[in-house]
């Protein structure tokens, strides 16, 4: 099956800086593909190249197998939902949605029918006569998507469209976007710096950093099996230790941290004894216990003092300072066992080597 969108060795340079550095990926039909990265990593540049507002320095962009490099933006079978939506304030909602159809010279009555259909689809029937500024943030969002979807594009590009919404609405729109994507059965390419948006909605996520794709995979892949330290640090929370590898046997290894602790972990990628390395452990992989005996099954055990409790409902954390003086974040179990935990209490913590991922460190 030809992928809906394919980018091959895409490079974009602005003067001396390389904004997009040799990126290749393909998006299968009907899937939700996200590009996730910090601001300034080049994700918007990729999107603008796909939409046709920028020409790549080299490489190719293919839509349904055909190169679109010579196609101007108004002729490409791609449409874009802009960061601030860019609805046309001088037009009514119906005129906004019908804009693209008018450009295709569709007869008037047919446009009216299609616009009504689209409004039904997004669950806002009968608002066609309203002005853009009479709608709420979430409604505008849906209109912006409908305005693109009436044109039945092969690929819909979304440039951080949820950024301007408040938290509650954003949570709601995540679910809704995913449902709209399923309803329209169109390929969505979504760019964001918000990992939770990407994780919740996407079939595939590409993590981007400094113009390159660090890893492409499902949310689970990225979360549980990160390929690079950047991905491990960017997706989810992590406790980190830097150090030097003492010994290594297959994937199992022991590292001596800079603070002098010996730690067992699992190697990601080729490592050798003596290498500088970095260990990542997720707060929820660390077990909290009142006594050392309860942790006897774990490869790594520490004891320390609670310095702070960060209450955040189900996502509550405890900050534990170990004997070496480092502070770790540990998820607070909500089973009631530690309901009485308070600052200054001595606790034991432990985690398995399988939950500690070790990457080769930058020198």
């Amino acid at each position: 099956m030809t992928p809906d969108l394919e980018c091959a060795d895409l490079v974009k340079r602005f003067g001396e800086t390389t904004a997009v550095d040799n990126v290749s990926f393909s998006v299968p039909p009907g899937s939700f593909f996200s590009i996730l990265g910090p601001s300034g990593c080049g994700k918007t540049t990729i999107m603008r190249m796909i939409a046709g507002f920028l020409d790549p320095t080299s490489g190719d962009i293919r839509i349904k197998g055909k190169s679109v490099l010579d196609t101007p933006p108004n002729k490409r079978p791609v449409n874009m939902v802009f960061q601030h939506l860019a609805l046309f304030p001088m037009m009514s909602i119906a005129e906004n949605i019908g804009y693209g159809l008018r450009r295709q010279k569709m007869p008037r009555d047919q446009i009216a029918r299609k616009v009504d259909e689209a409004l039904d689809r997004i669950g806002l029937p009968g608002i066609g006569g309203r002005k853009v500024d009479e709608l709420s943030g979430g409604q505008k969002q849906r209109v912006a998507i409908a305005r693109c979807m009436v044109l039945e594009p092969d690929v819909l590009l979304l440039d951080e469209p949820l950024g301007a919404l408040d938290l509650k609405l954003r949570e709601h729109m995540k679910v809704e976007l995913k449902a709209l994507q399923a309803a329209f059965d169109t390929t969505f390419v979504y760019i964001t710096h918000d990992q939770s948006e990407a994780l919740v909605m996407s079939d595939q996520i590409a993590v981007m950093n400094a113009g390159r794709f660090e890893q492409v995979g499902t949310g689970q892949d990225l979360y549980y099996r990160p390929d690079t330290p950047f991905v491990a640090g960017f997706i989810g929370e992590s406790n980190r230790w830097k150090g030097r590898i003492d010994r290594i046997e297959g994937e199992a290894l022991q590292m001596r941290t800079d603070s002098g602790l010996a730690m067992r972990a699992t190697a990601a990628g080729p490592l050798a004894a003596g290498d500088t390395a970095e260990i990542f452990v997720r707060p929820e992989s660390i077990r909290l216990a009142a006594s050392a005996e309860a942790l006897s099954g774990f490869d790594n055990q520490l004891q320390g003092k609670v310095t702070s409790i960060l209450f955040n409902g189900a996502a509550s954390r405890v900050l534990v300072q170990d004997d070496a003086g480092e502070t770790l974040e540990v998820t607070l179990p909500q089973s009631g066992e530690f309901a009485a935990l308070k600052r200054g209490d001595a606790v034991h913590i432990g985690w398995g080597a399988a939950q500690a991922t070790c990457f080769k460190g930058a020198a």
């Binding site: 960061q83 046309f88 037009m91 804009y99 693209g100």
Partner: protein
């Protein structure tokens, strides 16, 4: 506290009331009174509409009146057509320093008085002027070419004088148009022309209307440019007012002309607002 605010309010309002009253309202009432009287004999006046009758029946007066109106509308239209791309370039395409420099370039001619600016055009366009010499040197003309003293030269002068007053409101409104809205227009299949017609022009409409009103009034009330650059056929209505007041000392007819001009500009501005479906508050606020 209340008394304080009231005093402050009165203090702020006084200059405005004085300005409006002394310079606009009182002179206009007086002008109106002068315009509706007729001189019977030395020092004896009678109320009548004779001046307006004369103004509306004498072909020269009437013709000049309409010509001035039509030429002012034309000058406004030409100014808009030239200023729009210039403003678009300044507001949307030019970035940073270039933008400031271009804007300054529009402003700099106004450091010089209008009289001197108009002389500049005369130096360029007269028979022994720069353009004439250039044409002869290039072999495109075999004798000196006179380009002054006709409607075209006058139009050039009017457009040149009005340019800035069109560019400023246009740049301001165009700058407020989000780039991504224009991009969305293209992205959804629009061509350059349809994006201009459906997105850019409707957005810029307040700027277009206010620019047009200002330029139209400036052209209609201009005295210097038509007098200096226009020919003997390019009589401007303001020249006739000047003639009646100063040359002929016929204040009655001059005042009637003045009132006709006021009514004309009000009617055309009102028509312009009606045509574009805007209110004066929207345009000026």
């Amino acid at each position: 506290m209340r008394a304080h605010t009231r005093i402050g309010f009165i203090l702020l309002l006084t200059p405005l009331v004085l300005w409006l009253g002394l310079l606009i309202i009182i002179p206009h009432i007086d002008m109106f009174l002068i315009s509706i009287r007729e001189r019977i004999s030395f020092g004896v006046y009678e109320t009548s509409l004779a001046q307006y009758e004369k103004a509306l029946t004498e072909p020269l007066y009437l013709r000049t009146f309409w010509r001035t109106a039509v030429m002012s509308v034309l000058a406004t239209a030409i100014t808009l057509v030239i200023a729009f791309p210039v403003s678009y370039y300044i507001a949307k395409m030019a970035k940073g320093r270039l933008q400031q420099v271009l804007f300054m370039l529009c402003l700099i001619p106004f450091y010089v008085s209008e009289l001197v600016r108009t002389f500049g055009w005369m130096i360029l366009l007269r028979e022994t002027g720069l353009v004439s010499n250039l044409l002869q040197w290039a072999g495109l003309a075999d004798q000196p070419v006179e380009m002054l003293y006709n409607d075209a030269a006058m139009m050039v002068g009017l457009v040149y004088t009005s340019m800035l007053f069109m560019v400023v409101p246009l740049v301001t409104t165009l700058e407020s148009l989000d780039d991504s809205v224009i991009e969305a227009g293209y992205d959804l299949g629009g061509s350059g022309l349809s994006v201009l017609r459906e997105i850019i022009v409707p957005h810029a409409m307040p700027g277009i209307v206010s620019g047009c009103i200002v330029v139209f009034m400036l052209s209609l009330g201009n005295y210097l440019t038509p007098t200096m650059l226009g020919g003997k056929d390019s009589l401007w209505f303001t020249e006739m007012i000047y003639n009646q007041f100063i040359v002929r000392s016929n204040w009655e007819l001059g005042a009637a002309f003045g009132f006709m001009l006021l009514v004309l500009s009000s009617v055309i501005v009102w028509g312009m607002l009606r045509l574009t479906g805007r209110t004066l508050q929207e345009t000026m606020g």
